[in-house]
């Protein structure tokens, strides 16, 4: 590679700018780590944001008492229709058993339970600041949920809050995970559309971004989990049923890459226009997942002077293929166009029309050279192909009746 002094100066300037930018970025104070995204194990921090629970409580002890049920302390749990509702017991719920003498918060009450001091429940309460307790923070879950609807269906509390009978303070860990929800919300059972529980954008897609984190399908869900390699492996999931992708993504997101007019650098990071020919020869099928040769490739090749049908002005830049002695004439080697066509014919169609092939491969009667392009076993299946369409046969063969007879 030979570069002029001007090019080297431009390059140097570019690199210095890049280095200065990188230096400025590195000099930034180190920010806090982003909130974790769901990994499928345990409740997601995006769905159930981190809580602060400076409380003391023994669910196990209370639920072991005769007559005490969940509704004893959480009476609104059977009527709440919105996830925003606070179901945390208020002081009034506790007072019947734990009466509090506010004038003497450290003293034992006269109620049946002798332990009625503030620090019985409020962790960190100190007598020198008797009116100050640590704040409880339970952010609203990023879900749609109706306790009332579940209660009306006879769903027991512990069906969703499974471990609550054995814990002290109930935390995020006692909230249901998606894996437990789908035991009922499945095809043929309770409504199973994702948007029944998940929040949605105005266009109906699931809302996937919460703060700095992105919601990600759980690992157990049919290979839909988007890990670092998903960019290159998502075909396997999308090919099963594209409607699964449409729950979170619009068709426009597919089109932005698969039919983009601006090259995506995650897929083609380098000077891909210059390099793409070798990549296409190695694996043209992979190119086909985004680009149709007869649509996307040909138009550019025609205009850039690469295609056989390009203008004479741009084609004057030189021959694209190896010399005719290797490329066209016998003997057939791996560098012969016949071998290349058998191996990667999609690359042929990115420049050539079928007429270019017919010129030589048509029968002598059609004015061609009579070089058969068919594989040896073709005769056994040409009948089915001919029944599908006789058009390609007619391009090369002058006596279609004879062809029909042979392919019957």
């Amino acid at each position: 590679m030979t570069l002029s002094a001007r090019s080297i100066r431009a390059l140097l300037g570019f690199v210095l700018t890049l280095a200065a930018t990188a230096g400025a970025l590195v000099a930034q104070p180190r920010p806090a780590a982003p909130p974790p995204v769901t990994t499928g194990e345990g409740p997601s921090h995006l769905i159930y944001p981190t809580q602060r629970l400076p409380l003391r409580f023994q669910h196990a002890r209370h639920l072991a008492m005769p007559g005490v049920t969940c509704a004893s302390c959480h009476p609104a749990a059977t009527t709440s229709a919105r996830v925003e509702d606070s179901l945390l017991p208020t002081e009034a719920s506790c007072a019947p058993c734990h009466a509090i003498d506010r004038a003497h918060p450290m003293s034992a009450s006269t109620a049946p339970n002798p332990l009625g001091g503030c620090d019985l429940c409020h962790e960190g309460w100190r007598p020198e600041s008797p009116l100050r307790v640590a704040r409880v923070v339970i952010p609203t879950a990023n879900l749609r949920f109706s306790h009332a609807r579940h209660a009306a269906q006879g769903v027991a509390c512990e069906r969703c809050h499974a471990n609550v009978r054995g814990v002290g303070i109930a935390t995020r860990l006692e909230l249901p995970t998606m894996a437990s929800c789908v035991t009922c919300h499945r095809p043929g059972g309770a409504p199973d559309r994702c948007a029944v529980c998940h929040l949605t954008e105005p266009d109906g897609r699931l809302r996937t971004r919460f703060g700095d984190g992105w919601m990600n399908p759980p690992r157990w869900m049919n290979g839909l989990h988007h890990d670092a390699d998903f960019w290159f492996t998502h075909r396997a999931s999308a090919a099963q049923d594209g409607s699964r992708c449409a729950v979170c993504h619009t068709e426009g997101e597919c089109a932005a890459c698969h039919d983009g007019r601006v090259r995506d650098r995650r897929t083609h990071p380098n000077d891909y226009v210059t390099m793409h020919a070798v990549d296409a020869r190695m694996n043209s099928d992979r190119c086909g997942s985004c680009h149709r040769a007869s649509n996307f490739c040909v138009a550019c090749h025609q205009r850039a002077g690469v295609a056989a049908s390009s203008s004479t002005l741009s084609r004057a830049l030189g021959r694209f293929h190896p010399p005719a002695a290797v490329w066209t004439n016998a003997p057939v080697t791996l560098r012969h166009h016949g071998a290349e066509a058998r191996r990667a014919m999609r690359t042929c169609t990115s420049c050539h029309s079928e007429q270019d092939c017919v010129t030589c491969h048509a029968t002598l009667g059609r004015g061609g050279g009579g070089f058969s392009p068919h594989p040896p076993s073709f005769l056994a299946r040409c009948g089915a192909l001919m029944r599908a369409s006789e058009r390609p046969c007619a391009l090369c063969h002058d006596d279609l009746d004879a062809v029909r007879a042979r392919c019957r």
């Binding site: 780590a33 948007a195 105005p202 670092a228 426009g252 210059t274 190695m282 007869s294």
Partner: protein
Amino acid sequence: MAAASPTPRSLRPAASALALGIVACPARSFAFDAEVRAESTASSWQVRGPAGAAVLSLRRFTQTLSVAGASRSDDPRAPVVRLRARLRIDSDFGSACDPGTDRCLDELNRSRAAEFAPLFARRAVDLPFAFLEVIGLARGRVDLRAGRQLVVDPLGFFLFDGGLARLNLGAVASVEAYGGWETRAGFPLSNGRYERDGLLRADRAGWDRSIATAVLDRASARVIGAALELRASARLDARLTWRRVWTAEGVAEEAVAARTELMVGASVRAFAEAVYMVPMSTVTTASLGVEGLPARGGRWSVELLRVRPVFDLTSVWASFWIDPTDEARASVSLPVSRAVDLSLAAWGRRYALDTETSANAGTALGAPLNAGGAASVRVRRGRWDATLRASLEGGGLGVRGNADLSMRAWVLRRGLRLDALVSLAHVRDALRDDRSLDGLGLVLGATVPLGRVAQVSVSLEDDINGVVGHRLRAIGVLELRTLP
């Protein structure tokens, strides 16, 4: 809808079914939310031919306008009505000039046949999709969709104008049927982006018959398709699909495909896929894979794949000698820490040119092999992330290697995002050694969000290699989002 020339009368069944579906939706507590997005992209870049001379100096202005909406109801069993539409306009400017003579091509002038580029259009307006659907009719048993729509399944992308109905048969199965007209090149609002390879088509109205004879006149194609999906207790998911596309010249495509996913235990997933092209009596795609999801995180997979390219059955390419390519691929994805992900992949590719003894040449050509590997490391912190990727593939077809380091950082309290990319490339073309090259690419970009409704991005790219010297590219993007 009129793009692929279906007559209004022939669209009536699909439209009637959808209208019936909408009418059948319960009217109570019905609300409809919608979002409009617009994206304007201006780009300028240079393309140089394989010989290195400056051929094209291009500018393109692309605009997309998308509307997406959905009904909203407090009843989780209520049907959902969804609308999706996207309009796109590509406006091309710039010129293709010969640096030696300063003479520029007149690509649109059909009277200058030597310069005419038949598939080039200065301005192209198309409708990538536009459909209305009702999901969950008849207590969740029926879904209906009408309009220009995309089907993505084991047979690949398919875009058509018409109707699709899905019948959900409880927990174990669903049946899907669709029909209409394939969205093809040469019609208004249509660019044939997902048409199968083989034939070049355009609207030849007003063209002299002797000009660009390789480009055929537009021709509409009908399509019918069906699919059966089976599920078994979230362990087994299988899809069997069939599609037939035909024109006045015959069947352009008829294929059957099956794909199955099976969860084995809690951490292993197996999948298999096959596509059979009926008139060719040939399996064109076959794959088998296993994926592991260890409890401690990460993922590994092994996949075997055989692919044989397919073409429009009404073109000569479909009856040519085509050999398959076999590929074996293994990959590992490891979350090193909460901030660092590592991915490794290796593959081998075999071009099976020895599958049939050559009747023409009289000699077997052997089977060229290629092998390669790739590695990537991604580091994510609160306000920046960086990814280093490298891959190398080599063998009988030459060598292709590249490495790139991309960085993204939010600065000024997330008021500005900076992007940078440095990439290195090495290419050795076994067929044309004179075009082997080493390259360096540099990119700088910035994105400024303007509230929740707009975003502006700009990027500059310089690609440098021994074949073309410097090649510059500049891109500006304006995205707008509104809630009417």
